[in-house]
């Protein structure tokens, strides 16, 4: 079994119009910049994939990554907990103009809904959001005298993930807090595409140190020295680059 794919372009070639795409990361930490930019390049070249629903904790920052996907017009809807950032203009302008849909989900509920999608749990109850606008229309139940909101699982067609180390079986580790949503999204997507900074032979990751077992991974692309969103934004980067 070999899940390696040699180019970013090939890795994202199967993403379809209207797809739901989970994108790993919390702000810039764990953001799979190169995979997202490969998806943008394909869209600019072919017009596809369009009308994406993007699931991430945030809604982009600056003009790279998710912000660039929105800016180039590929994104119809964002499901996130916190669509603010140091430079949220791209999302904000489209949202206020009514050009992009937003489903706002409390952060822990977002994480648990994604995990539920991956774990075959169609619904669960949480105290989070009870009695608030974000629970409106959702079933409510009482357990042991306390009120809870029923939340549904969240799945995706594709997950784009950034990992630190990976092997060709798809076993993954993550760097520090870049882990965040990635292990959950890897479980919840029909096709999980991962960029790894280091590609190792099977056995190169200690069996006890594997964070995402290969069963949750479909494609592995080697991207050494991946860009850090925060660094890109501090340097005023854009994707695609503006040529003078």
């Amino acid at each position: 079994m070999d899940k390696r794919i040699s180019t970013l372009a090939d890795a994202v070639a199967g993403v379809k119009d209207g797809a739901t795409v989970m994108v790993g990361g919390f702000g810039g930490s764990g953001a799979p910049i190169e995979l997202m930019h490969a998806l943008i390049d394909r869209y600019l070249a072919t017009g596809r994939p369009a009308r994406l629903t993007v699931i991430n904790n945030n809604a982009g920052n600056g003009h790279v990554g998710i912000a660039a996907m929105i800016e180039q017009g590929m994104v119809a809807k964002v499901i996130c907990s916190f669509p603010r950032s140091a430079d949220p203009r791209v999302f904000t302008e489209r949202y206020l103009a009514g050009e992009i849909e937003l489903e706002l989900v409390p952060q822990g509920t977002l994480a648990e809904r994604i995990r539920a999608g991956g774990a075959g749990i169609p619904a669960f109850y949480t105290p989070t959001g009870f009695g608030t606008e974000l629970a409106m229309g959702k079933p409510v139940a009482e357990f042991d005298g306390r009120s809870y909101v029923q939340e549904r699982w969240l799945k995706a067609d594709v997950a784009l993930i950034k990992a630190e180390t990976g092997d060709r079986l798809g076993n993954l580790t993550y760097r520090m807090a870049a882990r965040n949503f990635a292990p959950l999204m890897a479980m919840a997507a029909t096709r999980t595409i991962v960029q790894v900074a280091q590609l190792v032979e099977p056995g190169g990751i200690e069996p006890e140190a594997v964070v995402t077992p290969g069963i949750f991974v479909d494609a592995v692309v080697h991207v050494p020295d991946p860009a850090q969103e925060e660094d890109l934004n501090r340097s005023g980067a854009r994707h695609p680059k503006v040529t003078a």
Partner: protein, 223 residues
């Protein structure tokens, strides 16, 4: 009455349908034999409920590590790429539909896909393990079984009379006499031993065997 396949031969036949790279969970006991018969050039990745993916064969006696066991509490070994994880993640793999195949034993299988394999009734100590999770998780749920009970009664039935493990979950049966798919609430005969006549096979089966073309010969090596 015709001599049926041995357990090992049934396991061999089931192993032929497992694709290279498939993620597979094998039930405790007889289904564990499937690992021995992987066709050349194919390598399935085996999952065990207690939190290992990609383990290897049993170690030589005396070299067991009892922290490295399968769901049947038998010692296994590491392979390059083995991963460990906790029980919640293990059953996320199962329940979340990430396994390609689960292969289990059976007391009874009904034509609607119902499976009974955990309890023979109110006597004794009931034990279920991971079977109820497995039958609702894997993409394909295959059963390995003798075609009839030890006293000759059908194990493939119209309706299960024993307590159910799962409702409408079995997709294929490998028996000592035949290979049978379950589709649309019916048994569809795919293969049968050349040595048994269709009429006789039907007599040993507790519900109608439907045909979808001529059944192929169930052909298994001597072993």
């Amino acid at each position: 009455m015709t001599a049926g396949l041995t357990n090992a031969q049934i396991a061999w036949r089931a192993a032929q349908d497992i694709e290279d790279g498939a993620y597979v969970n094998l039930g405790i006991g007889f289904p564990e034999m499937v690992t021995r018969f992987q066709p050349d050039g194919r390598q399935a990745i085996f999952h065990t409920e207690n939190g290992i993916l990609g383990f290897g064969e049993a170690p030589p006696p005396g070299q067991e590590d009892w922290d490295l066991i399968n769901a049947g509490k038998k010692a296994v070994t590491l392979r390059p790429g083995t991963a460990f994880f906790d029980h919640a993640d293990s059953f996320a793999m199962v329940r979340g539909g990430h396994l390609d195949v689960a292969i289990l034993g059976a007391f009874q299988v009904a034509q609607n896909g119902d499976l009974a394999n955990w309890s023979t009734g109110p006597k004794g100590v009931p034990a279920v393990g991971g079977a109820m999770d497995l039958v609702h998780g894997a993409r394909r749920v295959a059963v390995l079984t003798d075609h009839v009970t030890r006293d000759g009664r059908p194990k493939l039935v119209d309706r299960c009379t024993l307590p159910l493990t799962g409702v409408g979950c079995v997709t294929r049966l490998y028996t000592s006499l035949a290979v049978i798919d379950i589709e649309g609430g019916r048994f569809i005969l795919r293969e049968k031993l050349p040595s048994i006549r269709l009429d006789d096979l039907q007599l040993l089966t507790g519900a109608v065997l439907h045909l979808d073309g001529t059944p192929a010969d169930l052909s298994v090596p001597e072993m």
